[in-house]
Symmetry: C2
Subunit: 206 residues, 2 copies
């Protein structure tokens, strides 16, 4: 049991190390020696867990997808689907500033040299599509607002905030996300719902 | 004169070759040998023009910035600043699908391993800021629409379309950009102006 826990911890340390290098310097700068050094793990232990750099990066990708799913699938405590959408975009940009595994997963997506197995952006787009469809079925959308347009604007902007945020953290600040929703919500929310929506997000508040 | 023209052509071929490799495979995959081979230029000729890979990538960056400026600073034939903004976003996404130098310039911006000299996205943000400020001064904005929110949504979405478009060209399609504006224009344009605006762009039309 102790040995299994140790093995698990080593594996997590290796994924954390590759995440830090990918997020800071990109995939190409990532070497097995650099990873084992940063994780404080011997080359032998690294090879026990991962046969190659590719296998380690795939494990990083899977870990990043799990983090993304945890953000997207957290229980909805909002009063409407649109408020839930707002709350989740706030949660996602906040996680991107603090969670290096999640950030590295998005850096991989943006790297033209990497062929993603699990494309985080595609996963995010499908999640937004589903939620917007549900919001439409629940009469939460403004009459005339096209679901495809809403998905385009929201997924496009989140992808943009993420990639711009890698160079300038202000793009991931709560104020930036709130400004985006202040502008967008009147265009997409049913008038009766609009007054109940908080562009700054409601998660974690009473 | 003939020699100068030849030298200019060689330089352009080298920049085109490095742009193709950066756009398709990323900066790390770019080697001087690969570049000279793709450009059909000897290693000696390459070194005559550029002392290092870094110098060549800087030349690519400068060329990409010049292409971006040509798109942003083309004469405005639209009837309003907001229509000009719509038209330029259409022109930019169209150029991104056809101009490999421009596309490679944005790939460089997204590469965490590259320290940009001329950040195309920062240039784009400043241009949008200026235009939105002018639109506000000309009473083209909807009362209550925050200029910062407009800049955030537009720059964020363009950055998103560009990075998503590198994997899936539909993000750079005219229909995608038009959908974005169909949703956004009612939220940001003065009501009297709204009816005159075409989300699909007016450039090149009578």
């Amino acid at each position: 049991m102790a040995r299994q826990q140790r093995a698990m911890r080593t594996r997590e340390a290796l994924i954390g190390a590759v995440a830090e290098i990918v997020a800071q310097e990109g995939l190409a700068a990532t070497s097995l020696t650099g990873i084992s050094k940063r994780a404080g793990v011997s080359n032998g232990a690294l090879h026990f867990h991962f046969v190659s750099k590719g296998a380690l990066v795939e494990a990083l990708e899977a870990a990043a997808l799990a983090r993304l799913r945890a953000v997207l699938e957290a229980p909805a405590d909002a009063r409407s689907r649109l408020q839930h959408l707002v709350d989740v975009t706030h949660a996602l940009t906040r996680e991107l500033t603090t969670d290096v595994v999640l950030r590295a997963g998005f850096v991989l997506c943006a790297d033209v040299a990497w062929e993603p197995g699990a494309d985080l952006r595609v996963h995010l787009r499908r999640w937004v599509e589903d939620l917007v469809r549900e919001a439409g079925a629940a009469a939460e959308l403004r009459p005339g607002a096209e679901p495809e347009g809403i998905v385009t604007a929201v997924v496009g902007a989140i992808a943009g905030f993420e990639v711009l945020g890698a160079r300038d953290a202000v793009w991931l600040a709560p104020r930036t996300v709130a400004r985006f929703w202040e502008l967008l919500l009147p265009a997409l929310a049913a008038p009766a719902l609009l007054g109940t929506l908080d562009p700054a997000g409601t998660r974690g508040r009473p």
